[in-house]
Amino acid sequence: MLIKRPRGWELPESAATPEALVMGRRKSLGLAAGLLAAAGAGPALAQGAAPAADPMAAARNPRYQPGRDLTPERDVTTYNNYYEFGVDDKRIHRAAQRLPLRPWRLKVDGMVERPIEFDIDGLLRMLQLEERVYRLRCVEAWAMTIPWTGFQLSTLLGLVNPLASAKYVTFETAAIPAVMPGLRQSWYPWPYLEGCTIEEARNDLSFLAVGLYGKALPPQNGAPIRVLFPWKYGFKSGKSIVRITLTDQRPVCFWERLQNQEYGFWANVNPEVPHPRWSQATERVIGSNERVPTRLFNGYAEQVAGLYTGLANERLWA
Protein backbone atom coordinates (compact mmCIF):
# COMPACT_ATOMS: atom_id res chain seq x y z
CA MET A 1 0.00 0.00 0.00
CA LEU A 2 1.38 3.38 -0.98
CA ILE A 3 1.35 5.91 1.82
CA LYS A 4 1.95 9.43 0.56
CA ARG A 5 3.24 11.81 3.17
CA PRO A 6 2.76 15.40 2.01
CA ARG A 7 5.86 17.53 2.26
CA GLY A 8 5.86 20.87 4.00
CA TRP A 9 4.98 22.93 0.97
CA GLU A 10 2.49 20.54 -0.64
CA LEU A 11 -1.18 21.44 -0.64
CA PRO A 12 -4.18 19.53 -1.96
CA GLU A 13 -5.51 20.58 -5.36
CA SER A 14 -8.61 21.90 -3.66
CA ALA A 15 -6.53 24.44 -1.77
CA ALA A 16 -5.04 25.94 -4.94
CA THR A 17 -6.10 29.48 -5.73
CA PRO A 18 -8.07 29.70 -9.00
CA GLU A 19 -5.87 30.82 -11.89
CA ALA A 20 -8.15 33.71 -12.81
CA LEU A 21 -7.82 35.11 -9.31
CA VAL A 22 -4.05 34.82 -9.34
CA MET A 23 -3.74 36.40 -12.77
CA GLY A 24 -6.10 39.15 -11.78
CA ARG A 25 -4.09 39.94 -8.68
CA ARG A 26 -0.87 39.77 -10.65
CA LYS A 27 -2.30 42.17 -13.19
CA SER A 28 -3.34 44.63 -10.56
CA LEU A 29 0.01 44.33 -8.84
CA GLY A 30 1.75 44.89 -12.14
CA LEU A 31 -0.42 47.91 -12.80
CA ALA A 32 0.29 49.29 -9.35
CA ALA A 33 4.00 48.72 -9.87
CA GLY A 34 3.84 50.49 -13.19
CA LEU A 35 2.01 53.39 -11.63
CA LEU A 36 4.55 53.56 -8.87
CA ALA A 37 7.38 53.59 -11.35
CA ALA A 38 5.67 56.26 -13.39
CA ALA A 39 5.14 58.38 -10.31
CA GLY A 40 8.76 58.22 -9.31
CA ALA A 41 8.28 55.02 -7.34
CA GLY A 42 5.49 56.25 -5.18
CA PRO A 43 5.11 59.11 -2.79
CA ALA A 44 7.95 59.15 -0.32
CA LEU A 45 6.94 60.03 3.19
CA ALA A 46 8.56 62.89 4.97
CA GLN A 47 11.67 61.99 6.89
CA GLY A 48 10.88 60.41 10.22
CA ALA A 49 7.27 59.60 9.34
CA ALA A 50 5.90 56.31 10.58
CA PRO A 51 5.67 53.38 8.17
CA ALA A 52 2.34 53.11 6.40
CA ALA A 53 1.96 49.37 6.78
CA ASP A 54 1.20 48.04 10.22
CA PRO A 55 3.16 44.83 10.64
CA MET A 56 1.04 44.14 13.72
CA ALA A 57 -1.85 43.36 11.39
CA ALA A 58 -0.12 40.41 9.73
CA ALA A 59 -1.51 36.98 10.48
CA ARG A 60 0.88 34.16 11.34
CA ASN A 61 1.30 31.61 8.56
CA PRO A 62 0.74 28.21 10.22
CA ARG A 63 2.79 26.39 7.58
CA TYR A 64 6.02 27.47 9.25
CA GLN A 65 6.34 25.73 12.58
CA PRO A 66 9.76 26.16 14.13
CA GLY A 67 9.52 23.29 16.60
CA ARG A 68 11.19 25.46 19.21
CA ASP A 69 10.22 28.18 21.63
CA LEU A 70 10.53 31.73 20.40
CA THR A 71 13.69 33.49 21.48
CA PRO A 72 12.92 36.28 23.95
CA GLU A 73 12.43 39.49 22.01
CA ARG A 74 14.95 41.28 24.16
CA ASP A 75 17.67 38.84 23.13
CA VAL A 76 16.79 39.17 19.47
CA THR A 77 16.94 42.95 19.58
CA THR A 78 20.06 43.32 21.72
CA TYR A 79 22.37 40.58 20.43
CA ASN A 80 23.20 41.52 16.87
CA ASN A 81 25.83 41.29 14.18
CA TYR A 82 25.82 44.40 12.06
CA TYR A 83 29.38 45.41 11.25
CA GLU A 84 28.39 48.74 9.75
CA PHE A 85 27.57 49.79 13.31
CA GLY A 86 30.53 48.16 15.02
CA VAL A 87 31.93 44.82 16.02
CA ASP A 88 30.58 44.40 19.54
CA ASP A 89 27.35 42.43 19.17
CA LYS A 90 26.02 43.70 22.48
CA ARG A 91 26.49 47.39 21.61
CA ILE A 92 25.08 47.33 18.09
CA HIS A 93 21.48 47.93 19.11
CA ARG A 94 22.34 51.31 20.57
CA ALA A 95 24.59 52.44 17.72
CA ALA A 96 22.04 51.39 15.10
CA GLN A 97 19.35 53.73 16.38
CA ARG A 98 20.88 56.51 14.27
CA LEU A 99 19.92 54.76 11.04
CA PRO A 100 17.38 56.98 9.22
CA LEU A 101 14.54 54.68 8.14
CA ARG A 102 12.47 57.12 6.10
CA PRO A 103 12.51 57.93 3.30
CA TRP A 104 13.86 54.56 2.12
CA ARG A 105 14.17 53.53 -1.48
CA LEU A 106 14.58 49.97 -2.67
CA LYS A 107 15.83 49.63 -6.21
CA VAL A 108 15.16 46.38 -8.08
CA ASP A 109 17.03 46.31 -11.35
CA GLY A 110 19.36 44.37 -13.62
CA MET A 111 18.00 41.61 -15.83
CA VAL A 112 14.32 42.36 -15.35
CA GLU A 113 11.57 43.48 -17.69
CA ARG A 114 10.50 46.33 -15.42
CA PRO A 115 13.20 47.81 -13.19
CA ILE A 116 11.50 49.66 -10.35
CA GLU A 117 12.69 51.89 -7.55
CA PHE A 118 10.21 51.46 -4.73
CA ASP A 119 9.51 53.74 -1.88
CA ILE A 120 9.35 51.29 1.01
CA ASP A 121 5.96 52.47 2.23
CA GLY A 122 4.54 52.36 -1.28
CA LEU A 123 5.79 48.81 -1.60
CA LEU A 124 4.32 47.75 1.73
CA ARG A 125 0.95 49.22 0.81
CA MET A 126 0.88 47.02 -2.28
CA LEU A 127 1.62 43.73 -0.59
CA GLN A 128 -0.13 41.40 1.79
CA LEU A 129 2.14 40.88 4.78
CA GLU A 130 2.29 37.68 6.80
CA GLU A 131 4.13 36.48 9.86
CA ARG A 132 6.46 33.49 9.68
CA VAL A 133 8.39 31.94 12.52
CA TYR A 134 11.83 30.90 11.27
CA ARG A 135 14.84 29.39 12.95
CA LEU A 136 17.97 31.48 12.45
CA ARG A 137 21.34 29.71 12.58
CA CYS A 138 24.44 31.86 12.80
CA VAL A 139 27.70 30.55 11.36
CA GLU A 140 29.16 31.24 14.82
CA ALA A 141 27.11 28.30 16.14
CA TRP A 142 24.30 30.11 17.93
CA ALA A 143 20.62 30.08 17.03
CA MET A 144 17.42 32.02 17.54
CA THR A 145 13.77 31.47 16.67
CA ILE A 146 12.08 34.64 15.48
CA PRO A 147 8.60 35.63 14.28
CA TRP A 148 9.24 37.78 11.21
CA THR A 149 6.67 39.88 9.38
CA GLY A 150 7.07 40.40 5.68
CA PHE A 151 6.43 38.83 2.30
CA GLN A 152 7.93 36.25 0.02
CA LEU A 153 10.87 37.38 -2.07
CA SER A 154 9.25 35.73 -5.09
CA THR A 155 6.36 38.20 -4.80
CA LEU A 156 8.75 41.10 -5.29
CA LEU A 157 10.41 39.32 -8.20
CA GLY A 158 6.97 38.89 -9.74
CA LEU A 159 6.58 42.66 -9.82
CA VAL A 160 9.68 43.20 -11.93
CA ASN A 161 9.51 40.07 -14.13
CA PRO A 162 13.05 38.66 -14.22
CA LEU A 163 14.38 37.90 -17.68
CA ALA A 164 14.98 34.25 -18.53
CA SER A 165 18.71 35.00 -18.66
CA ALA A 166 18.80 36.11 -14.98
CA LYS A 167 20.61 33.48 -12.95
CA TYR A 168 21.53 35.21 -9.70
CA VAL A 169 20.14 37.80 -7.35
CA THR A 170 22.37 40.21 -5.43
CA PHE A 171 21.35 42.16 -2.36
CA GLU A 172 23.16 45.38 -1.59
CA THR A 173 22.72 46.81 1.86
CA ALA A 174 22.81 50.41 3.04
CA ALA A 175 26.15 52.17 3.45
CA ILE A 176 25.63 55.55 5.11
CA PRO A 177 28.97 56.81 6.47
CA ALA A 178 27.36 59.59 8.50
CA VAL A 179 25.60 57.11 10.78
CA MET A 180 27.56 53.90 10.28
CA PRO A 181 30.92 54.15 12.04
CA GLY A 182 31.83 50.64 10.97
CA LEU A 183 32.24 51.83 7.38
CA ARG A 184 35.46 53.49 8.53
CA GLN A 185 36.88 49.98 8.84
CA SER A 186 38.35 50.20 5.39
CA TRP A 187 39.65 46.65 5.65
CA TYR A 188 36.17 45.43 4.80
CA PRO A 189 34.89 45.57 1.21
CA TRP A 190 31.82 47.78 1.71
CA PRO A 191 29.00 47.88 0.87
CA TYR A 192 27.79 44.56 2.26
CA LEU A 193 26.76 42.45 -0.68
CA GLU A 194 25.01 39.10 -0.58
CA GLY A 195 23.57 36.88 -3.23
CA CYS A 196 21.78 33.72 -4.18
CA THR A 197 20.62 31.91 -7.28
CA ILE A 198 17.33 32.83 -8.89
CA GLU A 199 16.00 29.40 -7.94
CA GLU A 200 16.86 30.04 -4.29
CA ALA A 201 15.27 33.46 -4.49
CA ARG A 202 12.07 31.93 -5.85
CA ASN A 203 11.88 29.30 -3.12
CA ASP A 204 8.89 29.72 -0.83
CA LEU A 205 11.15 30.13 2.21
CA SER A 206 13.03 33.16 0.85
CA PHE A 207 11.46 36.06 2.65
CA LEU A 208 11.76 39.82 2.88
CA ALA A 209 11.15 40.88 6.47
CA VAL A 210 9.91 44.29 7.54
CA GLY A 211 8.96 43.42 11.11
CA LEU A 212 9.50 41.07 14.02
CA TYR A 213 7.39 40.20 17.04
CA GLY A 214 4.51 42.08 15.44
CA LYS A 215 6.40 45.36 15.35
CA ALA A 216 8.31 47.25 12.70
CA LEU A 217 11.81 45.88 12.26
CA PRO A 218 14.27 47.67 14.57
CA PRO A 219 17.38 49.16 12.94
CA GLN A 220 19.73 46.66 14.57
CA ASN A 221 17.79 43.78 13.02
CA GLY A 222 17.99 45.21 9.52
CA ALA A 223 15.25 47.82 9.23
CA PRO A 224 13.43 48.74 7.21
CA ILE A 225 13.75 45.66 5.01
CA ARG A 226 16.02 42.62 5.07
CA VAL A 227 16.20 39.30 3.35
CA LEU A 228 15.99 35.89 5.05
CA PHE A 229 17.21 32.51 3.88
CA PRO A 230 16.51 30.37 6.95
CA TRP A 231 18.30 27.30 5.61
CA LYS A 232 21.57 29.20 5.20
CA TYR A 233 23.91 30.64 7.77
CA GLY A 234 22.72 34.00 9.00
CA PHE A 235 25.34 36.13 7.26
CA LYS A 236 23.56 35.39 3.96
CA SER A 237 20.51 37.30 5.20
CA GLY A 238 21.50 40.87 4.40
CA LYS A 239 20.09 43.76 6.42
CA SER A 240 18.74 47.18 5.46
CA ILE A 241 18.61 46.43 1.75
CA VAL A 242 18.73 49.28 -0.76
CA ARG A 243 19.17 47.41 -4.00
CA ILE A 244 18.29 44.02 -5.46
CA THR A 245 19.90 43.24 -8.79
CA LEU A 246 19.24 40.31 -11.07
CA THR A 247 22.24 39.21 -13.05
CA ASP A 248 23.71 36.36 -15.03
CA GLN A 249 27.03 36.64 -13.15
CA ARG A 250 27.52 34.91 -9.83
CA PRO A 251 28.27 37.68 -7.34
CA VAL A 252 31.27 37.61 -5.05
CA CYS A 253 29.68 38.28 -1.70
CA PHE A 254 31.10 40.29 1.21
CA TRP A 255 32.45 37.46 3.33
CA GLU A 256 33.32 35.35 0.33
CA ARG A 257 35.60 38.15 -0.86
CA LEU A 258 37.33 38.18 2.52
CA GLN A 259 37.48 34.51 3.48
CA ASN A 260 36.28 32.30 0.72
CA GLN A 261 37.34 29.13 2.47
CA GLU A 262 35.27 29.97 5.55
CA TYR A 263 32.25 31.84 4.21
CA GLY A 264 31.42 30.77 0.68
CA PHE A 265 28.66 31.68 -1.73
CA TRP A 266 26.24 28.89 -0.80
CA ALA A 267 26.66 28.73 2.99
CA ASN A 268 23.94 26.15 3.56
CA VAL A 269 23.71 24.85 7.11
CA ASN A 270 25.25 21.41 7.53
CA PRO A 271 26.19 19.99 10.94
CA GLU A 272 28.63 17.56 9.38
CA VAL A 273 30.79 20.20 7.73
CA PRO A 274 32.71 22.08 10.39
CA HIS A 275 33.90 25.63 10.06
CA PRO A 276 37.71 25.58 9.80
CA ARG A 277 37.94 26.71 13.42
CA TRP A 278 34.87 25.26 15.13
CA SER A 279 32.32 22.50 14.88
CA GLN A 280 28.89 23.11 13.36
CA ALA A 281 27.43 19.93 14.87
CA THR A 282 25.56 21.77 17.60
CA GLU A 283 24.25 25.25 18.27
CA ARG A 284 23.73 27.34 21.37
CA VAL A 285 20.11 28.46 21.65
CA ILE A 286 20.12 32.12 22.60
CA GLY A 287 17.81 32.69 25.53
CA SER A 288 18.06 29.26 27.13
CA ASN A 289 21.79 28.74 26.42
CA GLU A 290 20.89 25.11 25.76
CA ARG A 291 23.12 23.35 23.23
CA VAL A 292 21.14 21.36 20.67
CA PRO A 293 22.09 19.40 17.55
CA THR A 294 22.18 21.39 14.34
CA ARG A 295 20.06 20.01 11.50
CA LEU A 296 20.86 19.77 7.79
CA PHE A 297 19.66 22.94 6.03
CA ASN A 298 18.75 24.18 9.51
CA GLY A 299 15.81 21.76 9.47
CA TYR A 300 14.43 22.99 6.15
CA ALA A 301 15.83 20.18 3.98
CA GLU A 302 12.39 19.11 2.86
CA GLN A 303 11.75 22.51 1.32
CA VAL A 304 15.16 23.26 -0.19
CA ALA A 305 17.24 20.12 -0.73
CA GLY A 306 15.88 19.87 -4.26
CA LEU A 307 17.53 23.18 -5.16
CA TYR A 308 20.94 21.55 -4.98
CA THR A 309 20.58 18.41 -7.03
CA GLY A 310 23.26 18.30 -9.69
CA LEU A 311 25.51 20.67 -7.79
CA ALA A 312 27.79 18.04 -6.28
CA ASN A 313 30.87 19.91 -7.46
CA GLU A 314 29.90 23.06 -5.60
CA ARG A 315 31.01 23.80 -2.05
CA LEU A 316 27.45 23.97 -0.78
CA TRP A 317 28.11 24.00 2.95
CA ALA A 318 30.58 26.71 3.78
Binding site: G86, V87, D88, D89, K90, R91, E140, R184, Q185, S186, W187, Y188, P189, W255, R257, L258, Q259, N260, E262, R277, W278
Partner: protein
Protein backbone atom coordinates in the same frame (compact mmCIF):
# COMPACT_ATOMS: atom_id res chain seq x y z
CA UNK B 1 67.62 42.52 18.62
CA UNK B 2 68.80 45.96 17.57
CA UNK B 3 69.21 44.65 14.03
CA UNK B 4 65.67 43.29 14.02
CA UNK B 5 64.43 46.62 15.35
CA UNK B 6 66.25 48.41 12.55
CA UNK B 7 64.58 46.10 10.05
CA UNK B 8 61.17 47.08 11.41
CA UNK B 9 62.11 50.76 11.07
CA UNK B 10 63.10 50.20 7.46
CA UNK B 11 59.80 48.32 7.01
CA UNK B 12 57.87 51.27 8.46
CA UNK B 13 59.64 53.68 6.13
CA UNK B 14 59.00 51.40 3.16
CA UNK B 15 55.30 51.08 3.95
CA UNK B 16 54.99 54.87 4.28
CA UNK B 17 56.92 55.38 1.05
CA UNK B 18 55.00 52.84 -1.00
CA UNK B 19 51.46 53.15 0.38
CA UNK B 20 51.55 56.73 1.62
CA UNK B 21 51.27 58.15 5.10
CA UNK B 22 47.50 57.95 5.25
CA UNK B 23 46.77 54.28 4.63
CA UNK B 24 45.44 52.51 7.71
CA UNK B 25 47.10 49.42 9.09
CA UNK B 26 43.87 47.46 8.54
CA UNK B 27 43.69 48.49 4.89
CA UNK B 28 47.34 47.60 4.44
CA UNK B 29 46.69 44.13 5.86
CA UNK B 30 43.55 43.83 3.71
CA UNK B 31 45.64 44.56 0.60
CA UNK B 32 48.18 41.93 1.61
CA UNK B 33 45.85 39.18 2.86
CA UNK B 34 42.16 40.15 2.57
CA UNK B 35 40.94 37.68 5.17
CA UNK B 36 43.57 38.29 7.83
CA UNK B 37 41.84 41.01 9.83
CA UNK B 38 38.45 39.20 10.00
CA UNK B 39 40.34 36.05 10.98
CA UNK B 40 42.16 37.89 13.75
CA UNK B 41 38.96 39.57 14.89
CA UNK B 42 37.11 36.27 14.99
CA UNK B 43 39.97 34.68 16.91
CA UNK B 44 39.97 37.45 19.52
CA UNK B 45 36.20 37.62 19.86
CA UNK B 46 35.66 33.88 20.07
CA UNK B 47 37.94 33.83 23.08
CA UNK B 48 35.58 36.20 24.81
CA UNK B 49 37.63 39.33 24.26
CA UNK B 50 34.97 41.25 22.37
CA UNK B 51 35.83 44.49 24.12
CA UNK B 52 39.53 43.96 23.44
CA UNK B 53 38.81 43.90 19.74
CA UNK B 54 36.56 46.96 19.68
CA UNK B 55 38.68 48.95 22.13
CA UNK B 56 42.19 47.92 21.06
CA UNK B 57 41.98 45.96 17.79
CA UNK B 58 39.89 48.47 15.86
CA UNK B 59 41.98 51.53 16.89
CA UNK B 60 45.12 49.59 16.01
CA UNK B 61 43.72 48.75 12.58
CA UNK B 62 42.70 52.40 12.19
CA UNK B 63 46.25 53.58 12.89
CA UNK B 64 48.52 54.52 9.98
CA UNK B 65 50.09 51.45 8.40
CA UNK B 66 53.62 52.64 9.16
CA UNK B 67 52.95 53.16 12.88
CA UNK B 68 52.88 49.55 14.20
CA UNK B 69 56.20 48.56 12.57
CA UNK B 70 57.71 51.84 13.72
CA UNK B 71 56.62 51.21 17.32
CA UNK B 72 57.75 47.58 17.24
CA UNK B 73 61.10 48.65 15.79
CA UNK B 74 61.62 51.30 18.46
CA UNK B 75 60.70 48.88 21.26
CA UNK B 76 63.10 46.26 19.92
CA UNK B 77 65.93 48.80 19.63
CA UNK B 78 65.29 50.05 23.17
CA UNK B 79 65.22 46.50 24.54
CA UNK B 80 68.40 45.62 22.68
CA UNK B 81 70.10 48.76 23.91
CA UNK B 82 68.98 48.07 27.52
CA UNK B 83 70.21 44.49 27.29
CA UNK B 84 73.61 45.64 26.05
CA UNK B 85 73.95 48.09 28.93
CA UNK B 86 72.92 45.48 31.54
Amino acid sequence: MIGLGALFLVGAASVAGIFGLGMSFGTFLYRLVPGFVPWLQSLVQRHGWTNAWSDVGVPLMDAPAWLPPLLIGLVLILLGWARRRA
